[in-house]
């Protein structure tokens, strides 16, 4: 059987002994006491996201009303937005049925200031394909849920159990043609991030 053959071949050639390095120094060095919101906004905007600092959910609704026509298909993972289809209610539908979704609104677990990434697990997505298949994506996050770097991000994730999780740092993009940046490759054409107090 190939499994045992491979493992035996690998084992035979592991002739060194080394310890895992300490990650604490990197975590301490990067534990930034500065204004994470400002850092997040700068980096995420440079990566092509639209970032809004908003006072409350009502302010988000106002912006969404302005940006999206009322007749398009919008799915929301947040119960308060009762004018849109609640993602939890359609979670068992076939993934392909979301192909015509114009906008998906989801809540993120936390955000990362150094790279603009937002951490979402399957629980927040409801359906794994939703944040990818949607033409546009909006993510809501609270100010207090920003960490400086990926070191603190994984400390926060710890050993959480999930089926699927993703860091999403902007709209889908590509630069495969002559290194010209084009927003809107296969996933969302825009990412709006709403930061609540």
């Amino acid at each position: 059987m190939s499994r045992d053959k491979i493992l035996a071949a690998v084992k035979k050639n592991e002739f060194t002994q080394t310890q895992l390095p300490d990650l604490e120094i990197l975590t301490t060095l990067t534990d930034n006491p500065g204004d994470l919101t400002q850092q997040y906004i700068t980096i995420a905007s440079a990566g092509g996201s639209f970032v809004y600092e908003v006072a409350d959910m009502e302010a988000i609704k106002t912006i969404l009303h302005k940006e999206f026509k009322p007749d398009v298909k919008i799915i929301s993972g947040i119960k308060e937005f009762d004018e849109y289809t609640y993602a939890g209610a359609v979670a068992n539908e076939l993934a392909h049925s979301f192909a015509d979704v114009e906008l998906t609104i989801l809540q993120a677990g936390f955000g990362v200031a150094e790279n603009g990434a937002l951490w979402l697990t399957e629980t927040q997505m409801n359906v794994r394909v939703l944040p990818f298949i949607s033409q546009h994506l909006a993510v809501i996050i609270s100010r207090g849920f920003l960490v400086p770097t990926m070191a603190q991000a994984y400390a926060k994730i710890g050993n959480t159990d999930y089926g699927y999780g993703a860091f999403i740092s902007g709209p889908s993009k590509t630069a495969d043609i002559e290194q010209s940046l084009v927003i809107g490759a296969h996933g969302p054409r825009s990412l709006s991030v709403f930061i609540l107090p």
Partner: protein, 461 residues
């Protein structure tokens, strides 16, 4: 495709070099990417510590690889994933074909996986009646052009937008002469969306597999891996066995290095963590050896298995930039490819370790601190010792060693050389002399240093 050629790097590079403006454009584009990497790296004061830490984690992985693989397998099984093991490329391809055939699937969508390029999976599946569509934009472009990728991160970096426009006009029905990257990308988006929605099977690569949790991580900017995987009934993830990292928290080191080194972005748009399959769907992982366990046993070259496939060594390499990825005639081009390929086939890839100036820039930018240029130098010695170096080079080196070992012969040789340069320059200034091809030959001095020195000693007496 890539493996049908028997031409050497030098011959293929010579062909690429015929179009000088294109070489300059290729060179400048890649250098621009390298410059972006520098800007991103210099923003982090802890950059060098990050590289060192990543390198140490990988050292630990290589020293305990078999137990990490077993741990990964056990946890992945607990998560409901199916794990397969492939000793070589042929077994990898057979496993995948069987998974598809058992389910009556003859069309698959694939996101970027250099391993499947290494295994020539697309060709194999095509022969067995399975249609594969690559979904990364750059890979789709080279697939339509019937070429292999020329760069592991930027697969069609060698193509001009006008050429891409022609390919899309022929295959995807875009307007004739259209070369705007925005419009071409939109054309590909529409075409591939239909593909994502109609394929029952999706294959992806793996960037990192975590022993502690049995999950694996895939990084893309386009979102193509996720679109394929989440819409398919069966998701197959192919990984080289060196992709293991011990713990989830180690991603906090590697994800900070990977994209900064690759393109200068702080992170890819998507870093997707697959732990369990969706209800009613399947995830299969194929763990591939294909020579990796042998490389692990080569003390001088085992560090090449630390590679996280960022492509920084290619972007910085003066030879890669001026010779193009296809000149390396192997799936992974550039400096890292040149130390990986001879492990697979020393004879076929004997030329690659010589396709370098040994300037060391690759080692300086490598995020996991692989001593790439040292290994290139060491491969040269192995290749010559094993008798795989090109005959002309072997004869020339032997002649040189013979001449240098005899002072009389050396002096006579020098005299003859100077006489030829002075009285018969046509004998060296011609295309038969490879050194002349890109250089002006120097003027020969009247006397050698040795002659001048002894004359001076005579005069001083």
């Amino acid at each position: 495709m890539s493996n049908s050629t028997t031409k050497s790097h030098a011959e293929l590079a010579a062909a690429f070099n015929k179009d000088e403006p294109r070489v300059d454009w290729h060179d400048e584009t890649l250098w621009w990417v390298r410059a972006k990497r520098d800007i991103a790296a210099h923003k982090l004061p802890e950059w060098e510590l990050l590289r060192e830490t990543a390198s140490q984690i990988k050292n630990n992985v290589l020293s305990n690889l078999s137990s990490y693989l077993e741990q990964f397998e056990a946890n992945a099984l607990k998560n409901g994933l199916v794990v397969h093991w492939a000793a070589d490329a042929a077994e990898h391809n057979q496993i995948i074909h069987k998974l598809l055939a058992d389910r009556g699937i003859n069309r698959m969508v694939k996101s970027k996986s250099m391993l499947t390029e290494e295994c020539h999976l697309n060709e194999y599946l095509k022969e067995h009646g399975v249609d594969v569509i690559d979904s990364d934009l750059g890979e789709r472009i080279v697939q339509l052009a019937n070429e292999p990728p020329s760069h592991i991160v930027l697969p069609c970096i060698h193509k001009k937008k006008e050429e891409i426009g022609d390919i899309f006009h022929e295959h995807l029905g875009s307007a004739k002469g259209e070369s705007d990257p925005k419009i071409l990308t939109e054309t590909a988006r529409q075409h591939l969306r239909e593909v994502f929605l109609t394929r029952r099977a999706a294959l992806t690569g793996v960037n990192f597999a975590i022993a502690e949790t049995g999950e694996f991580v895939i990084c893309t900017n386009e979102g193509n891996a996720d679109m394929g995987a989440h819409l398919a009934e069966i998701h197959i993830a192919s990984m080289g066995l060196e992709k293991i990292i011990p713990e989830r928290k180690h991603l906090g080191v590697f994800l900070r290095l990977l994209t900064r080194s690759a393109t200068g972005q702080p992170i890819t748009t998507y870093s997707s963590h697959f732990k369990k399959p969706q209800d009613g769907r399947e995830i299969h992982i194929v763990i591939v050896d294909n020579g990796r366990s042998i490389q692990l046993g080569r003390e001088d070259f085992r560090n090449s298995l630390k590679c996280i496939r960022c492509g920084a060594c290619m972007n910085t390499c003066p030879v890669y930039r001026k010779s193009g990825g296809h000149s390396y005639h192997t799936a992974i081009a550039g400096p890292i490819g040149s130390i990986l390929a001879p492990n697979l086939d020393m004879k076929k890839y004997a030329d690659l370790p010589f396709a370098s100036t040994l300037c060391g820039s690759c080692s300086n930018v490598c995020p996991v601190k692989i001593n790439i240029h040292d290994q290139l130098y060491k491969w040269r010695q192995v290749i010559v010792k094993e008798g795989y170096s090109p005959t002309a080079k072997t004869i020339a080196m032997k002649a040189m060693a013979f001449t240098l070992s005899s002072p009389a012969l050396y002096r006579t040789g020098g005299k003859v050389g100077r006489w030829v340069f002075k009285h018969a320059p046509f004998a060296v200034n011609n295309q038969q002399n490879p050194w002349f091809k890109h250089r002006e030959m120097p003027k020969a001095p009247e006397q050698s240093f040795g002659e001048w020195y002894s004359k001076r000693k005579e005069e001083k007496k």
